[in-house]
Amino acid sequence: MQFNQKHLLGLEDLTEGQITQILDTADNFKEVLGRKIKKVPALRGVTIANVFYEPSTRTKMSFELAEKRLSADIINFSKATSSVKKGETLRDTLENIKAMKVDIVVMRHESSGAHRFASEFLDCSIVNAGDGQHAHPTQGLLDMMTLRERWGTLRGKKVTIIGDIMHSRVARSNIWGLTKMGVEVTVCGPPTMMPVEVAKLGEGGVKLEYDLRKAISGADAINILRIQLERQKSKLFPSMREYFEVFGVSCDVLKSAPEGCLVLHPGPMNRGVEIAQEVADGDQSVILPQVANGVAVRMAVLFLIAGGTVEGDELN
């Protein structure tokens, strides 16, 4: 089955079927990653540019590894070492990359909508590795992959997302992806970090609950967002200790959730702020499996965007 999307800009644009296709493909690639030789020739001859305007450790490494596992040729660009410092515009930088005949641009950018803007003038495929506060689709996908492999199916499950929803592209991509897959999503965080009309987000909307214990009381999984320390400077919450007291997930708080409730975190973690040490490293945590799945999901996305089909023999 062909994957009929040129770009991956956000999960809002995808159907349940397309998301399932990516997750199924990712499961296949995960098997490849367990082999002794972890490389397949699927994207041999395909050139991918990783364009990172924002600092990133996990996502950048994960994409790079995924590309290498698929045998793609890759070039890397990061803001710190580029002509951006000399005042080059995003458009000029991307036009130059385009002139080098790249097939896929993987981009992270601090501006919401930067990828949509890029799609106005790039003819290659664009994969969103995070844009501003808008979307981080591969994070949403790897979270879903992690949950699905534990549950078998996502439909009918309950997931609570905790923290700064307003500024979080991870939250938005999770909400769109999960709700499309039939998950009941609850968001929980301080009202100062809730975007207006948040309950309308996603397919069929989400539940809003300010009380953390109530919010997780029926949850099959909780996704704890990183609290960005710079937000504290704009005084969206009064202090770190108050945040941890009210929204931090400790072992005691986690007891309010049903037994076996999974704990996700997109990283990087602020241990002792939004998540307690014991929770991050505890039995219910799937934080490291998330990272492992990130590579498989990104392989799947790149493979499908490049026009691959799972029925083919590319995996051998």
Partner: protein, 433 residues
């Protein structure tokens, strides 16, 4: 169709003559001599040796008056010049415009007023009135020399683009302007609530991950300035009202007799926030495009007189300015060339407003808000007229843009109602071949 360039003494015959002040459109003829309207005659075919221009049933109305134009000159000639801005104005049916003070240097000194007026005389395609800054450097701290600005030709005061945050400064401005006899125009936006806002705050901003300005940021500012107008008895004009709450505040203020007027822009009357869906920077304006409820309230405000007039907020920006990430793009869209066509299409053609009322809101009403000439078609007045076909369908093509900038989302749009040209003191300018 008309080759009447420079013929200053002539009859215009067979026109539907609009008298917006009287609310009527009647077929008739107009005699123009030495650039002045000499006679307005009903239905007659004049016996005359003068050239006769057959208007062929088009509508002849007072030239439009825009009281909110950014001409960008001096300082930002890459975006617009007085020549290109007034050419766009004439093409859109305007014969008078008032330019805003946020140039470089700022119009906070009589010499800048004089400079603009001189440049307009040299290269302008329509009359240019100048708004002086309320505060020096638009910094919101000290008021400018209102007396000297007026003497140099300024007809109003405005820090447009910025709200005067310090209430005491705004109070002083309204008090002092009262003595000088100039209206103070306010750009109502609480800059703290609208901090780094990219669009209206709503579900759409939540979805797009863009920072929003709540309607309250405008409403709070309007409410404050209305209280200050009441306190001082100064003459307040609210620029580009965009929210339902703002319309309500102005309505209530008018009922209690406070000297306040208000304008709405063609884009706030016709476009809504959902158009930002694809992060198209040409829809990024300040105040931002709002929701359907706000558009309905603005239209109701026009209907009951709460909103006095339509003003374009024509704000040119280069393609370089706009070819960037959404949050780095400057706010503003051009509007002079499309205002009539857009509003005729959306309001008149859809039965929400009579044509003559739209013509009034584009000419007579704005002129009277600022107290400048224009908006009348009567013997003894300069022949500043617009000739238009309210039923003609046309597409606004990129090649038709007369502004130096192309930042309008309306390129490629099909309209009903087209300006055929203007007479400026009897001199014909037309873009329609």
């Amino acid at each position: 169709m008309i080759s009447w360039k420079d013929k200053r003494d002539f009859w215009i015959m067979g026109a539907k003559i609009a008298d917006p002040a009287g609310g009527k459109i009647k077929t008739g003829s107009v005699l123009v001599q030495k650039g002045m309207i000499c006679e307005v005659a009903p239905q007659k075919t004049p016996e005359t040796d003068l050239p006769v221009l057959d208007a062929g049933g088009l509508v002849l109305a007072p030239g439009f008056v825009d009281i909110h134009t950014h001409l960008r000159e001096p300082g930002f000639e890459d975006k617009e010049t007085i020549e290109t801005g007034t050419a766009a104005a004439a093409s859109g049916g305007y014969t008078s415009i008032m330019c805003m003070a946020n140039t470089q240097p700022v119009v906070d000194d009589p010499s800048v007023v004089e400079y603009i007026r001189r440049r307009a005389e040299m290269s302008g395609r329509c009359r240019v009135y100048v708004a002086g800054a309320v505060t020096r450097g638009l910094a919101g701290e000290e008021i400018t020399e209102f007396h000297h600005l007026k003497k140099a030709g300024a007809v109003a005061l405005s820090d447009d683009g910025r709200f005067i945050v310090n209430s005491k400064v705004m109070r002083l401005a309204l008090e002092y302007a009262k003595m000088i006899g100039l209206p103070v125009i306010s750009h109502c936006e609480d800059p703290y609530l609208a901090d780094d806002a990219q669009m209206n705050e709503s579900y759409v901003s939540t979805r797009l991950g863009l920072r929003g300005a709540p309607a309250a940021s405008e409403e709070i500012a309007i409410a404050r300035d209305i209280r200050l107008a009441a306190l001082t008895g100064g003459r307040l004009h609210i620029a580009h009202v965009s929210t339902a709450g703002g319309v309500d505040l102005v309505r209530k203020a008018k009922k209690t007799g406070i000297a306040v007027t208000a304008e709405a822009s063609p884009h706030h009357l016709t476009l809504d926030e959902t158009m930002l869906e694809n992060y198209d920077r040409n829809f990024k304006v300040n105040p931002p495009l709002r929701g359907a409820r706000d558009i309905a309230a603005l239209r109701a405000g026009l209907k009951d007189g709460t909103i006095d007039c339509i003003a374009t907020d024509h704000a040119p920006h280069t393609e370089i300015d706009k070819q960037v990430e959404f949050n780095y793009a400057p706010s503003g869209m051009t509007g002079l060339q499309t205002a009539f066509a857009q509003l005729n299409t959306e309001l008149v053609e859809k039965g929400e407003m009579e044509l003559v009322e739209l013509l009034r809101l584009l000419s007579t009403a704005p002129a009277s808000v600022i107290g400048i000439p224009g908006g009348r078609l009567e013997p003894g007045l300069p022949a500043d007229l617009v000739l238009l076909d309210p039923k003609e369908e046309w597409v606004f093509e990129r090649s038709m843009v007369r502004s130096r900038s192309y930042n309008t989302p309306l390129i490629g749009k099909k309209f009903t109602g087209r300006v055929h040209g203007v007479f400026l003191e009897g001199k014909w300018y037309s873009d329609v071949s």
